[in-house]
Point group: C2
Chain length 227, copies 2
Amino acid sequence: MTNKLNLNNLTKSEEDYLKALFQLLIEGGSAKVGNNQLADYLKVSPASTNNMIKKLKAKEYVVSEKYGKLELTEEGKSIAVRLIRKHRLWETFLCNYLNFGWDEVHDVAEQLEHIKSQKLINELDRFMDFPTKDPHGEVIPNAAGEYFILPKTTLSSLEEGAICQLISVNDASVTFLKYVSEIGLALSSEIKVLEVREFDGSIKIQFNNTEETVTRKFGDNVFVKVI
Amino acid sequence: MTNKLNLNNLTKSEEDYLKALFQLLIEGGSAKVGNNQLADYLKVSPASTNNMIKKLKAKEYVVSEKYGKLELTEEGKSIAVRLIRKHRLWETFLCNYLNFGWDEVHDVAEQLEHIKSQKLINELDRFMDFPTKDPHGEVIPNAAGEYFILPKTTLSSLEEGAICQLISVNDASVTFLKYVSEIGLALSSEIKVLEVREFDGSIKIQFNNTEETVTRKFGDNVFVKVI
DNA sequence: TTAATTTGTTAGTCATAGCTAACTTTTTTA
DNA sequence: TAAAAAAGTTAGCTATGACTAACAAATTAA
Ligand SMILES: [Mn+2]
Ligand SMILES: [Mn+2]
Ligand SMILES: [Mn+2]
Ligand SMILES: [Mn+2]
């Protein structure tokens, strides 16, 4: 009896907690993630996360000591990656085949990612001819759960004069995504940082012969590759 | 404040109960449906249905008197039809685009029908160019919730000598559907009833130059049009 | 028309997954 | 290093939606 990854015995909530932990720890690159941070991220109370973490520890998806930081086991990570794969494949399907805008897909994908059917997701992948990026520029794990997690450099972390390319955007805020589209930014856009204002962290950027001033918060949600 | 059909405030369970009631009362054509019959159909205890019916009555989707039979309000029906539309559109998508067999789609559609997004289902409909029948021959309600509910004539109700065409099949049993395919029956197949054996209700039928003997139970799950 | 059977209801229990309020431990700051 | 703040935990509550066991009403059979 080896490694029986019981993908089908997890509740929606359990899946969501594992995904959140993965996104904080691995995709987000946080060295340590605590109970309250997770609660914040999931917009639930610390008591709720504490409770769920107990369950996930009992099921051996999470490891932590009392009052200590949270870690995912390999099985915990594996479940999270499969969920992320489903989420991103669905987002891609909605955008590329069902006329959804990139600002409209996340909430629906949050529901669709919990549909339990291995065949469904692998056939959807095949149907779209195995896409590698979702509408927000994020890498889609393959059927084996493998994918390259690129370290996230935010636009707001760059110095004046830096030139970069837009790689991906945070997909969770509808208003942010609409705003990005509105000013004419898109994946692959080349951006030059003209000015970083110390006073409020706002950034003046140039792209497509346009100049825009954006806030630090905006820049925190735009991920780039320096060129 | 008119007719506010709060489609999004229903739980998965509430939706399932309304759909079950609709399928018994309207699609199934039962004159009266009671609490225990509903419990049977949904494979839950009578106490559970009793409890849920109370909630649905409070929300005005169901009407019934104490110890009386169950009825759906117009709003209750409307919700059920929308659910049936979603179910059948998803089944169609799985069969026609994702290489699912007709015996594999029902369980997945049971999950997908609860995804809440008006746009998703209407775009899926458009993407498939507005199909009118699902893989089991059942009529798909349109975006306005309109569809023709054809009265179900079972193969087992026919007399010896009758000739009919296969219109639809019960989609809930995987083994039944596999069996139908295996013997070579399909939607639109022309079937002649050669013999009805009184002893056990078994039926000898002829189709595609083949003869087969099937049970009454089999015939109960095959719906036909006499020609 | 009484008795048996079926049908429907109620009470009380359980699991999941949220919450608040109170508390403890750890970390930070003064 | 002691006090304050932050982080984590626990207890106890709520809602949903299952369940069983016990009971009441309605229907059917004798
Ligand atoms: Mn998303
Ligand atoms: Mn995305
Ligand atoms: Mn079905
Ligand atoms: Mn069907």
